[in-house]
Symmetry: C2
Subunit: 286 residues, 2 copies
């Protein structure tokens, strides 16, 4: 059964990631999970149209026995393009695709897993979050050619201390270094991302690690009214960017318009579609 294969690939990725997040076997497992997920969603689930309160965006949910998946952005979810692009996932050839196409392929890849999990599990927020973290972490590990760490050493003279962090990538001596938090959505907890950036700035000096936040979406489905909203707090983000720390980029697979607008104004926050990363990677590495 397609759905069981999705869960199987998840377990495989978890195991492989512990040893080496760059492993091409993880790419293969993501491809398999995506194929099986799409197969399940398109042949065994139905679709329910949703009312969108997000200007300019249309959403629907997959549906199985009265259960709804998270909202799926119709313009971004494209199973045909995704399936045909899967062979280049995790390879250098991905970088040759247009930004919009990469974003759409990766959105579909992420949603193939998340929506399948939504339909088969009950109130499981953790598995989609972990999968998305592995998926994005793997792409960065492939692009940077190094494995991330998930803690940093803090000098304290009198004792040693290691602080757990999201992914941190060190691409080499005198090379760029990155702090890469990965979130399914940010909601009210996002201040943690800026606070961690501040700590890393404090330990290594401001700017030593560039902060790249990667987020799937900010949509929320009201399951009574079947309305989709986007939860955005742009004023608060400005305050975090101004008083806590500076993030270099905020990448989304489904970019909220209100956050994209933060690219202008003070202090600017460069919020972009995740596909853009692959074109500007060299600039960020410089």
């Amino acid at each position: 059964m397609a759905a069981a294969d999705v869960a199987l690939q998840y377990e495989r990725i978890k195991k492989l990631a512990k040893a080496d997040l760059r492993d091409s076997a993880i790419t293969e497992a993501i491809r398999e999970a995506t194929r099986h997920g799409l197969d399940f969603l398109l042949t065994q689930a139905g679709t329910a149209s949703l009312e969108s309160d997000v200007p300019g965006k249309t959403y629907s949910s997959f549906e199985l026995m009265g259960k709804l998946s998270r909202p799926i952005n119709q313009a971004l979810f494209d199973h045909e393009t995704c399936l045909s692009a899967l062979p280049v996932l995790g390879t250098e050839a991905l970088t040759d695709m247009a930004s919009e196409q990469i974003t759409s392929v990766l959105y579909t890849t992420a949603m193939a897993f998340c929506a399948t999990n939504d339909l088969l599990k009950r109130a499981d927020q953790k598995t989609p979050g972990t999968y998305f973290e592995y998926m994005i972490g793997h792409l960065f590990a492939r692009q940077f050619g190094v494995n991330p760490k998930t803690s940093i050493e803090v000098l304290n003279l009198d004792e040693t201390a290691n602080i757990p962090t999201d992914f941190v990538f060190d691409t080499g001596v005198n090379q760029a270094k990155f702090h890469v938090p990965v979130k399914i959505s940010t909601r009210e907890r996002v201040i943690q991302v800026w606070a961690h950036q501040r700590i890393i700035d404090g330990v290594y000096g401001a700017g030593r690690f560039k902060g790249l936040l990667v987020t799937l979406t900010e949509t929320k489905l009201d399951r009574q009214s079947l309305r989709v909203i986007e939860i955005c707090l742009p004023q608060q983000w400005k305050v975090y960017q101004r008083f806590v720390a500076r993030l270099e980029r905020v990448y989304y697979l489904d970019v909220p318009t209100k956050y994209a607008a933060l690219a202008s104004g003070y202090p600017a926050i460069a919020v972009k579609p995740f596909g853009d990363f692959f074109a500007e990677k060299d600039q960020l590495l410089a």
Copy 2:
């Protein structure tokens, strides 16, 4: 029924707090909730002894029809002292009591409500948190003689912005000001407290608002093994205090030994029993 009266007082407090958190009617409602809660717990619930993995502390739970309350610290929970002290709660006379006694009375007051709610509601984390916030907020509002705000204005030249915060108390022109986050327990989200302090420091200047974090306990009950542990991350707190912002005090009703030890070492974090606040209030106001 005693238990229903507890819920009734909670609703009353919520309503009164909106108008004036200093209102002596809130003191009266807290007294009533405590009396009814203790009556319910002592006459209608049983007790279950728990294995304590916390050195030097003994815990038990109240029990009703197979349901267990959160762990109760036996040395701090004292219904007789609490009932006899209730008449001075919220008055200046509370300050005349010894610190240990105040801590015990307030611990018992908080637990009378929380344990009652644990036994009667299913998986309700929100109500105890809100009650505790009102209870502590009320005591501060009485002590400082002013109502707190829960947002601060941030100047941005081009637009106005208000950032939601925990309680902030402004005791007057050229007087001390306080940032008072109130938490049932801190867990991994506590970095938010330091990050908010950083924002407030950024807006008003470092030291303008003294940060006083007030927490009930850090205990966690494993419901399978009936063991109680305390979840503490002292190394992380040191890093927050060093790189994010400085908190002036961290008050607990059930002080974790590992956090109390942070009072020495670098950077020092003054973690104390909440009863101490009433004796050092004038020093903090200076």
